[in-house]
């Protein structure tokens, strides 16, 4: 079967995560001995550890054997491929892939397919030929922050701190932000520079940008680690009243920083919940259910205004909050 290359943002064969139970009934109990493997991008970022936590939660609940592996470092594409291939050899019933790039896990996907093992692409880079995708819309991260500026400010100069050049998520997030903001009146993106996911480089880039544009009103950083570096640069320049700083991912440190009044906001894509949903979808696939190609997971812009709503340990409560919207 030849599937059209997947565009997770526009795929018509999609559903919201919240409709799973309604459309397909309760998750059937998996057969004893069911095993699922997860291959993540890296564990050096809290986002991916939280995702694994979500996988693990559900795996434990349903007594499924689960192994979670990650490439030794971000950008180690071949390393991740080897890990994925090695996992296939061990005979899992389903695999959850979060690839480094759109294509680096392609051979593993093909091998798994040949062996009839369902593969689920969870978040970030999108393998075009994948049959199942669970995750949010990368571009939407940037769009939501841009929307905040449009709704809450009078316009002004903005800057973007980008992730590693050439990385899918970085490109999409930047593009979402920039194209949305440029359609609005009175905004200008005066700088958009890479800081390679590094807190330090984000700090340096932000201080330099503030030299040039002391009247800047806001930063959008492609992830929270860089956003926290930017916050420090803004504080060091004494401009925290004037400059709003946004990150992406919703890691715990970002929450803490928002609470402390430093970081203005972050786009949380709820990794734990996403992990749970992905595992659920995987188990449903193993059970033979025929699900839509894309299952969309939630995302929300977190600011001081709504932080308490989302800052819950218990994902059941979070589900309720999100479902209520």
């Amino acid at each position: 079967q030849d599937l059209a290359p997947l565009n997770s943002d526009e795929e018509p064969d999609r559903m919201e995560w919240s409709e799973l139970d309604a459309r397909f009934g309760e998750l059937p109990a998996p057969e004893a001995g069911t095993a699922v493997g997860g291959v993540s991008k890296t564990l050096t970022n809290e986002y991916w550890r939280s995702l694994g936590e979500g996988y693990e939660n559900l795996a434990q609940e349903y007594d499924v054997k689960f192994a979670y592996q990650a490439a030794p470092s971000e950008g180690d594409q071949l390393g991740q491929l080897s890990i994925a291939e090695n996992m296939i050899l061990q005979g899992y019933d389903a695999l959850l892939f979060s690839p480094q790039t759109d294509n680096n896990l392609q051979p593993a996907l093909e091998t798994a397919r040949a062996q009839g093992i369902p593969v689920l692409n969870v978040n970030d880079a999108v393998i075009p030929s994948v049959e199942h995708y669970v995750g949010n819309v990368q571009r939407d991260n940037g769009v939501r922050v841009a929307q905040w500026f449009i709704d809450n400010t009078e316009g002004g100069k903005l800057a973007v701190i980008e992730g590693q050049p050439g990385v899918f998520a970085a490109g999409q997030r930047t593009d979402g932000f920039t194209s949305t903001i440029e359609e609005a009146e009175g905004f200008e993106v005066v700088a958009s520079v890479p800081a390679n996911w590094s807190r330090e480089q984000a700090y340096d880039a932000a201080s330099t940008i503030l030299q040039q544009h002391p009247d800047l009103i806001g930063f959008y950083a492609n992830n929270d680690g860089m956003a926290l570096g930017v916050v420090e640069a803004v504080k060091n320049a004494g401009l925290q009243e004037q400059v709003a700083v946004f990150g992406t991912d919703g890691i715990s440190d970002a929450y803490a920083s928002i609470r402390a009044g430093d970081l203005t906001g972050t786009v949380d894509s709820f990794p734990v919940l996403t992990g749970e949903v992905a595992m659920e979808v995987a188990l449903r696939l193993v059970a033979g259910q025929d699900l839509p190609r894309v299952v969309a997971t939630p995302q929300a812009l977190i600011t001081a205004d709504n932080i308490e709503q989302y800052a819950v340990e218990d994902t059941a409560a979070l589900r309720d909050t999100l479902l209520a919207q």
Partner: protein, 331 residues
Amino acid sequence: MSSKMTDTTDATTPARGLRSVLPASLSLRDAGTLLGLVLILIVFASLNPVFLTAPNLLNILQQSSINACIALGMTFVIISGGIDLSVGPTAALSAVAGAALMAAGVPVPLAILAALATGMACGLFNGTLIAFAGLQPFIVTLGGLSLYRALALIFTGGNPIFGIPQEFRAVINGDVLGVPVPVVIIGVIAALLWVVLNRSPFGEYILAVGGNQEAARIAGVPVARTKITVYVMSGGLASVAALILTGRLGAADPTMGNLWELDAIAAAAIGGASLMGGKGSVVGTLLGAVILGSLRNGLTLMNVQAFYQLLATGIIIILAMLIDRATRGRG
């Protein structure tokens, strides 16, 4: 006189004896590396039943083939007294060049040639700056590392190129008598390179230039040409790796090849190449690449967590060098 003769023969006997047991092409040093590999295989095999199965061993070879390809080029560069940090971006640039042509409908063989030419052009650029401008290899190729990556990203706008012809992919993903094609390709290349290093004048030139550049020059070795050639070779082999990977992945990513240089240097060094130049072996490097591949494979099979994999990699690299050192001390 006669007593002296006996003396000499006596003293050399043990080394000769050992050497005569090994195939002629396997030096004592390479035997040490082989021993290291065997040790690692034994450890993993005893820990995990899947490890020593034929499919997994082929898997290991397949996974090591990209690194082996890069590391072979690196070995020649290192022997000549240089280093090539730009292999990853060189691979990326030639991958996107080849893929773009393939996707545009250019016949596959032509696109392959173009990809190879791209990689060799990168090597030529490095080599020229090193040989003629006399710049330090580390720095030139560090510059190349940024430069070629930037060119690949600019050329593609940062997006991977899809649309690799199925015929090309089928060849790369096929096998010959059960052995994956990439493994066969690397095997053939390695055999050729072994001959080049050990049997061709060019091999002598590389060893001489790396051993004592000034003496080599005075003895009439074409030093500049030799140096440039090793970088061109390294670039060309990076293209080969890039093409194999493009075939396997079905796409060419401008971010391909991240950190390849470190893996390749590690493989060459484990295999006995000296970064001071003048020393290195094709067989050793292949073994080094397989050691690193086995390590990753075994750790994944045992489901070792990423941080601990990193730990194990660090420890094994150092252990391998210590074992090597210990075995070599006697050799």
